[in-house]
């Protein structure tokens, strides 16, 4: 069933998908162990997204405790933030661009300790893979 991006149902579906994913469970087993692993995904407004969306994903040791859209793009509960215009995110979620490429080329801006992120490349790839796997209705221009 298609779920509207930005809705509570979408964030809940993401939480469930992460917790269903053995890829994520393995890849992120050490993510958030000893540090704040909560990640804020910030989808900046552009031609196809009228207003900014920010999604807080609460992550630790291979599991997701919660996911919810928030109004605060600097939400202090997050240990890391990944920011990009929605069109960049859309290419990633449509699997046209590798998340790693976006991150390493700076198209996806990182807030937080970049070295920690680099040490867990499989964890964020898997997280984004979970988001990409949802049957989503995206806003259109």
């Amino acid at each position: 069933m298609t779920i509207l991006f930005g809705s509570p149902a979408w964030s809940e579906a993401l939480r469930a998908e992460i917790n269903r994913s053995s890829e994520y469970r393995n890849a992120a087993a050490k993510w958030g162990d000893g540090f704040n692993g909560n990640v804020l995904l910030v989808f900046d407004a552009d031609a196809s997204l009228p207003r900014r969306h920010a999604l807080l994903v609460e992550l630790a040791k291979g599991a997701c405790q919660g996911a919810s859209f928030t109004d605060d793009p600097q939400d202090p509960r997050a240990g890391f933030a990944l920011r990009a215009p929605f069109s960049v995110w859309k290419d990633i979620l449509d699997r046209k661009t590798l998340a790693a490429t976006a991150m390493l080329t700076g198209k996806l801006k990182v807030d937080g300790d970049k070295m920690t992120l680099l040490k867990h490349t499989a964890a964020h790839r898997s997280l984004i893979g979970c988001a990409a796997s949802l049957d989503t209705e995206y806003p259109t221009a």
Binding site: E23, L98, A100, K114, L118, K119, R125, S126
Partner: protein, 471 residues
């Protein structure tokens, strides 16, 4: 007939070939990522020929690219619409000075030929690359690293003197103390400032036999600790390591299942010895903590230096020698090496062993004085190379992933080794060379003011001119 053919033939003693006489091999290099056709391929007979070729290129506004055994994989050793100079025709080995421990060689000499020439005197170049089938000029222009580099630096650090033909056509003798700016510009200079035509190489005495301990590690960090211990111990003459995958099954990577591996780290530690003075195995390996001690091999030193030949022969027989080789090698800071290697290898399918391999080499930063061979700061460094053979039809599928491997290495503070596939933009190049970049631009203006030498790789701004007499 090309209108420049006759004047070019008249200008040099060597041989001139036109595109119709070339094979596909001349249009590419070991990377097989590019297909460039030169206007002429020339095999010079003398350094004077090289000077004449530079003069000819300047007069007729042609680019000039030097080519040895063309083991590079980026836009090196290939030329588009200009002169491709096959330096292997300058292959004379000159006088050995057993007192000074030096030998004079022309730039096109193949290291293998030199090694066999010197063995009767019990001498050997201090540093040899794993592949001996490359030219002296080629590796000096790159840096040239090998299993003895942790002691002696790069091959470029073991040159007493060189003759270099500059981009102005001048033949200049240079050394670390004479015309040092040009000397250190030419060493690891990728042929950008001058063409090395002769080198006086520093040698060492070798013992006739080697003993190699084949240790195996299942933990990267334990291996790296032992690699540092082995370097610092002074007990070993050569240190080499591989990454070896053991396939485990399939697992999802980004939602797509692929074969994954548990990685092991073979560590080869070698000492040279005289027959009758066999090494004390226990003393040599004291303190090391391998997962397994697999094999101890005694062989003549000359055979040790040729140890990779069976591997290369296998690649040739299997046909993978003809595949694309987008090799990605780098020098990592010790502090980030383990994290970087783990991140790269977790996504590297074990199929990389088909016609390729994964190299690790512990290194010492202070052993090199080269200004152009860029490496991270620090006493201890780790060389890391992903050396795949990729069937041409798969290149489109994997190119981005390989580009990300390079980006990841850089993000961990690595410097790329430039013989492999390097897909840098102008900013990447400036970041690679740091403060050295402005000096290189200045060297280019001084020694190659027309920007004719080896274009297409380093992003120097060159005067644009239309080649004369374009047919």
């Amino acid at each position: 007939m090309d209108p420049l053919y006759a004047p070019l033939v008249a200008a040099v003693e060597g041989t001139v070939l036109t595109p119709d006489q070339l094979t596909s091999e001349h249009r590419t290099n070991y990377g097989r990522l590019f297909d460039w056709t030169p206007r002429f391929l020339v095999r010079p007979r003398t350094a004077k020929d090289v000077q004449a070729l530079v003069g000819f290129a300047r007069t007729h506004h042609l680019s000039l690219t030097t080519r040895g055994m063309a083991h590079s994989q980026s836009q090196l050793a290939i030329n588009r619409d200009g002169l491709l100079v096959d330096m292997t025709s300058l292959g004379a080995i000159g006088a050995v000075d057993p007192g000074a421990l030096t030998v004079d060689v022309e730039a096109g000499v193949i290291w293998r030929d030199l090694v066999h020439h010197l063995k009767r005197d019990g001498l050997v170049p201090r540093v040899l690359t794993n592949n001996l089938g490359v030219t002296v000029g080629g590796t000096l222009a790159m840096a040239g690293i090998g299993v003895a580099s942790f002691q002696y630096g790069s091959q470029g650090d073991n040159v007493a003197e060189m003759d270099v033909v500059t981009g102005e056509g001048k033949l200049v003798t240079c050394s670390p103390s004479k015309n040092a700016e040009l000397f250190w510009g030419a060493i690891a200079g990728l042929g950008s400032f001058g063409i090395i035509t002769r080198a006086r190489l520093t040698l060492r005495r070798m013992k006739p036999m080697t003993r190699t301990y084949y240790l195996l590690y299942d933990d990267l960090r334990v291996f790296l600790d032992d690699a540092r211990r082995a370097m610092d111990s002074g007990r070993f003459d050569h240190l080499e390591s591989w990454g070896a995958p053991c396939a485990q099954g399939t697992r999802p990577v980004g939602g797509v299942r692929q074969v994954f591996a548990k990685w092991f780290y073979p560590f080869h530690l070698t000492v040279e010895f005289d027959p009758g003075s066999e090494p004390d195995d226990k003393a040599l390996l004291k303190g090391l903590r391998p997962y397994d001690n697999l094999y101890t091999d005694d062989c003549p030193t000359i055979d040790f230096l040729e140890r990779m030949v069976p591997v290369f022969e296998l690649w040739k027989k299997a046909g993978t020698w003809e595949f694309m080789h987008p090799w990605i090698e780098c020098i990592l800071p010790w502090e980030t090496a383990a994290d970087c290697i783990e991140q790269v290898l977790q996504d590297t399918p074990p199929g990389i062993q088909v016609g390729g391999h994964v190299l690790l080499w512990p290194a010492k930063g202070a052993t090199s004085r080269s200004k152009n061979f860029m490496r991270p700061e620090g006493d201890n460094l780790v060389g890391f190379g992903l050396l795949p053979a990729v069937p041409q039809r798969f290149w489109g599928d994997v190119k981005e992933r390989f580009a990300n491997v390079s980006r990841l290495m850089l993000a961990f503070g690595a410097k790329r080794y430039l013989s492999g596939w390097v897909d840098f933009d102008a900013d990447d190049w400036k970041a690679h060379f740091g403060a050295r970049w402005d000096e290189l631009v200045s060297l280019k203006r001084t020694y190659d003011p027309d920007g004719i030498l080896n274009p297409g790789f380093l992003p120097f701004e060159a005067p644009r001119r239309t080649p004369a007499g374009t047919p």
